[in-house]
């Protein structure tokens, strides 16, 4: 599968009208272009799919994911909204109830909290209560590491995983991002698609061009095989884990990296299969340590793989505090490669 992170030198701010035309000569797409491709292909495939959000039309979105879309699909299907997140979510729900398939963009995933009630009270509960499917995708850039500070760096997935009823994807690679987003658009349940902004232009790989290329929702994937320790993680932390695993290998420690890809519902089977093999678990996550996604992962391992464990489950995650701005502060706040190596060393020594 996909290898280690690659830096894209001199990547343009925008990608122009047809995202597939913005691949490299080798057919590689950045994480951002892969997401744009997914949206473009699904808009082409199904005219019920439309996008709404702030500045997504002529401006092309805060991160330029939707640049050029309005020229191809028009302002009805690439709809600029007022700054009204509750209404963006509510509109998505109401139009989905009438047969459309909305994909709403949040400029930053942080602002999903401005639509919190419509997400957690309407979107997450309506189908269970009243039997109406809501094929709604909410997408937005999440995560830290880009010096964006407290209000542009959140990992909101635990807020909405707790609500239930919403599938939550946090892909780490371009191909997974593309395939999962296409699956989300085609799914009849609500989805939250979180795009780690640290990855947008930093990661690229060859991404399938088949318009029906899908990655199944709810399936984790082992991104690096190993035998001594399992690092269970997702999002940007997958790349930190792969980097750590590389240098650990040089020291004779074999780390397996499990990329959750979807954090809700959780793929317990793939996690447990890895623990059965390695008997040691490092749960690495960028959402907060207390009641973050890794808390549940650790609980699942403790509850269901107890007899396979040779060491306590170890968690590595930021504290439940705002993401700080100053580079030394943010670097200390987020788990770093050296922290991962140290944690794996401790686990391997058991």
């Amino acid at each position: 599968m996909a290898g280690a992170a690659q830096k894209v030198e001199g990547a343009a701010a925008g990608h122009g009208a047809e995202p597939r035309g913005k691949r490299s000569d080798e057919g590689e797409a950045t994480y951002l272009i892969a997401i744009a491709e997914a949206l473009w292909e699904e808009m082409e495939r199904d005219e019920r799919v439309y996008m709404l959000g702030e500045d997504i039309g002529g401006y092309g979105g805060a991160f330029k994911v939707t640049e050029g879309f309005i020229d191809r699909f028009g302002s009805d299907r690439v709809m600029d909204t007022p700054i009204a997140e509750e209404t963006i979510v509510g509109m998505s729900v109401g139009s989905a109830m009438e047969g459309l398939r909305p994909v709403a963009e949040f400029q930053y995933a942080d602002f999903m909290s401005s639509g919190f009630d419509e997400i957690t009270t309407v979107l997450s509960r309506y189908h269970y209560r009243a039997g109406v499917p809501l094929p709604v995708v909410l997408r937005g850039p999440s995560g830290g590491g880009v010096r964006a500070s407290s209000f542009h760096s959140i990992n909101p997935e635990p807020w909405f995983a707790y609500a239930g009823g919403i599938k939550i994807m946090c892909p780490a690679f371009p191909a997974d991002a593309k395939g999962l987003l296409k699956s989300a658009v085609r799914d009849d349940n609500p989805s939250l698609f979180l795009e780690h902004k640290w990855l947008y232009r930093r990661i690229k790989e060859v991404v399938p061009t088949d318009p029906d290329f899908l990655v199944p929702i709810g399936k984790a994937e082992v991104k690096r095989e190993g035998t001594d320790v399992s690092i269970v993680t997702y999002g940007a932390m997958v790349h930190k884990a792969l980097e750590a695993a590389e240098s650990l290998a040089a020291k004779g420690v074999s780390a397996e990296v499990v990329d959750l890809r979807t954090v809700y519902p959780l793929d317990e089977e793939t996690i447990l299969r890895s623990i059965e093999k390695t008997s040691r678990a490092l749960v690495l996550y960028e959402s907060y340590r207390f009641l973050g996604i890794g808390t549940e992962v650790a609980a699942v391992i403790a509850e269901k793989a107890f007899e396979h464990l040779d060491a306590p489950v170890v968690r590595l995650a930021p504290p439940n505090l705002p993401v700080p701005f100053s580079p030394p502060l943010e670097d200390a706040f987020l788990p770093q490669v050296a922290d991962i190596e140290a944690a794996v060393d401790r686990l391997a020594a058991w």
Binding site: D76, P82, M97, H127, R129, G131, G164, N189
Partner: protein, 352 residues
């Protein structure tokens, strides 16, 4: 409702044909009887959960819902269940919901007036966080505009909900895009215990329409025909592409917020004034008599009919089975098939 054929309507002496007027009376009287009986059952400890009385406000509920077509959508609240009955909900299944039975529209998954019937009568299942349905109505209206199918969404909230940010967000967004939606504020003068002057500074809700650039009108909720006419005009404007409107329908909530609330904060003189002069049921009966549309006996017959409907629905609800306990774990995801897989047990809201 059809208005063309009736000579009295054509001559402008009556707003609706006689049979439509009689239907309005039926819906008003059913609303009143349902409200009185359900509150009594609640106080007797025979009705589980909660009961939110809409007594005194039936003119608003029935008036706006009667102006909608079956394919138009209604986004109601907990207090205007009567609007959903007028829209077409089956009283049997409404009552089954109150008693947590499988034949309730939501199969026991929600109770009391937190009800809806999207695939049948196009009503949104009520939620508590008002005006939570306002943004959803924007989305439905967006779909109608895009389809160009002439449908309209109508959303109701109370005066209390107008203080919430979503009220502004939703109306503003609908105005910007000229969407086919009608915003109804059922001003019953109290947000739970908080009176209008502690909710907003301006004298009326209707004048706030100016800030959105849309028409606003204030009507007497004690006059069902005035409400109907205001709603009809706003709905037709929306249907014709004229965008949203705001209707403030003024009444008084005669009872407390819910069955447990004696509403001691309400001045007795205010209540007396509204019960005397703004009772939508009594006012409409008097108008029908004075116009010669119905006789006293006709009105008594309607009363007898709604009492029989209530009794039959009560019996239906008591006879309906409870959901299976294991059903609680089903239907978290669409692919579970719960809502599509068991037709014949409740249901009625199966997906397309």
């Amino acid at each position: 409702m059809a208005t063309q054929a009736d000579p009295a309507v054509a001559q402008g002496t009556r707003p609706l044909p006689d049979d439509a007027l009689k239907t309005l009376l039926h819906d008003l009287k059913l609303a009143r009887h349902f409200d009185e009986r359900m509150e009594a059952l609640y106080r007797q400890g025979r009705l589980p959960g909660a009961f939110y009385s809409g007594r005194g406000q039936e003119g608003t509920h029935v008036g706006v819902a009667a102006a909608l077509r079956p394919t138009d959508s209604l986004f109601p609240t907990h207090r205007d269940l009567t609007a959903q009955l007028t829209k077409g909900l089956d009283l049997n299944r409404v009552m089954a919901q109150y008693w947590g039975r499988i034949d309730g529209y939501l199969r026991g998954r929600d109770g009391n007036s937190h009800i809806g019937d999207w695939y049948g009568n196009r009503t949104f299942a009520v939620m508590s966080h008002l005006p939570i349905a306002y943004p959803v109505a924007v989305g439905a209206a967006l779909a109608y505009q895009r389809a160009g199918d002439g449908r309209v969404a109508l959303a109701i909230c109370g005066d209390g909900a107008t203080s919430n940010g979503r009220w502004y967000e939703a109306i503003n967004t609908s105005a910007v895009h000229g969407l086919p939606v009608v915003w109804v504020v059922n001003n019953n003068q109290f947000a739970y215990s908080t009176p209008n002057p502690l909710e907003f500074k301006v004298p009326t809700v209707a004048e706030r329409a100016v800030a959105f650039g849309i028409p606003g009108i204030r009507v007497d909720g004690g006059d069902v025909l005035a409400v109907y006419e205001a709603a009809r005009e706003a709905i037709e404007r929306a249907r014709a592409g004229g965008g949203p409107s705001l209707i403030e329908s003024v009444s008084l909530r005669w009872r407390g917020h819910a069955g447990h609330d004696p509403a001691k904060y309400m001045a007795p003189e205010l209540l007396e004034e509204y019960m005397t002069h703004h009772d939508p049921v009594k006012n409409f009966e008097e108008w029908l008599l004075s116009e010669g549309v119905l006789t006293k006996d006709d009105i008594d017959d309607v009363q007898t009919q709604v009492e029989a409907e209530f009794t039959a629905a009560y019996d239906f609800a008591q006879a309906s089975p409870f959901p299976e306990p294991g059903d609680a774990l089903k239907g978290g995801w669409v692919e579970d098939g719960y809502w599509t897989g068991e037709p014949g047990r409740g249901g009625g809201t199966e997906s397309q």
